[in-house]
Symmetry: C2
Subunit: 284 residues, 2 copies
Amino acid sequence: MADATIIDGRALAGKVKDDLTRRVTALQRQGKNVRLDAVLVGGDQGARMYANNQAKACGAVGIEYVLHELPDTSSESDIIATVDMLNESKVVTAIMVHMPLPDGVDAYEIQARISSDKDVEGVNPANIGNIVFGKRSLVPCTALAVMEMIESTGIELQGARAVCVGASTIVGKPVAVLLMQAEATVTSTNAHTKNQELLTREADILVTAAGVPNLITAEFVKHGAVVIDVGINRVKGKDGKKRTVGDVDFEGVQGIAGFVSPVPGGVGPMTVAMMLRNTVQAAE
Amino acid sequence: MADATIIDGRALAGKVKDDLTRRVTALQRQGKNVRLDAVLVGGDQGARMYANNQAKACGAVGIEYVLHELPDTSSESDIIATVDMLNESKVVTAIMVHMPLPDGVDAYEIQARISSDKDVEGVNPANIGNIVFGKRSLVPCTALAVMEMIESTGIELQGARAVCVGASTIVGKPVAVLLMQAEATVTSTNAHTKNQELLTREADILVTAAGVPNLITAEFVKHGAVVIDVGINRVKGKDGKKRTVGDVDFEGVQGIAGFVSPVPGGVGPMTVAMMLRNTVQAAE
């Protein structure tokens, strides 16, 4: 049997970015601003690296990127004051706040504070709630990336059986609701689910966001299924070097699935592209 | 085999109301206001009857109820102006807007306008989104009623298999997310779902909100399951008189389920109680 088609996140993201470059140019011609302001609190290395990559990604499509750095001694009200200032600013069209935040700062309070029409990460509860209402404006980027990757395969969602492995706030639950919105039959599983493989094996669409390497082996997958891997796990390879893998046993699953997204090069680059798209949309 | 235990919505609602009467008295002793302001646009008979019942239900637990009647010629901006006035008022602690609204008025825009901390029906997207965040403050009343009725049976939710039949914005999807939050394994089905009975038959918890009389017969139900019937359907009985039934074939299912909620006398009265509880909570 032929191997599964690989859903190339980098290629899909590239197409999205080409489109965004055109849209940013059009906005600028109309004299409109397209600008993302990010807030980084403290010196977390991972967050800083992410901010640097984000600056590059924005630059590549013509989005202005402004980073607001706050000391790690910042209080919740300091951070809220910065968010309020960005909410009110007429030149700022998009806002995001880098995680993690210092101990004692309630990330929920900060995220809920971001004006819902500038919230390009889709972390404000109103934007999460809008998914339930079928308004897909500023949806959490990762969930949006998953949906775009599923749709790229051309599979009919209405009536399809979908299983989401993992029920996190920012990925598992929003993806489940987006799939419900598309009229799929959706099952959400978690670490307490019994006989998980009996459920996943019935899935036409299998999304895994559990953060467990090799959780999804060939035995979990239905013949011809669309498999989207949201896991990002650092594991030590046979050569002793660390590498990034998803939740899916890629080699095994490739022999049975119809489509499978790789890690790296799958959901990751597409998530960045969705954040850029939300930014452009917020400006439009 | 013994018949299923009936989940008595009126009795459960009665207990909730007793508790609320005490809480309202306590608030009033502290000089705090507990007041629900409802907006009724136009002369819809059903809405008016609902408003009358609501006034009585509020009165019974000591909540002040104020009805704002607007003519059916009201525009979206007229209604928004009323909602804004109630949002800003210091004496108004709770707001709801009766459906239906006149043609051309976008119900979503009106609901999204209600201040999230006065939104006792839980229809503002921020309150729906808060479910995903595990914040259960002002949850849509019907979804909250369903959860309370499930919990009244003492069933362990973590790891349980739950199936929600019907994926509406105001019931099916929020219930599914609340069950995910409780770490159940949750399947959401809809009219496009194939072989629905194979799924429902595996459910430890079966919630039906499809609006189809006799949809759920004994063959759909697992032995000992908890069955919650959210359906409200008007059908003609053998005597030619109209009566209200749910989605469940009550007589048939009673012989196989462990617990079953009746219609009428199940989710309905409990939904009213949850609206009152949200109102008291908003005042607290």
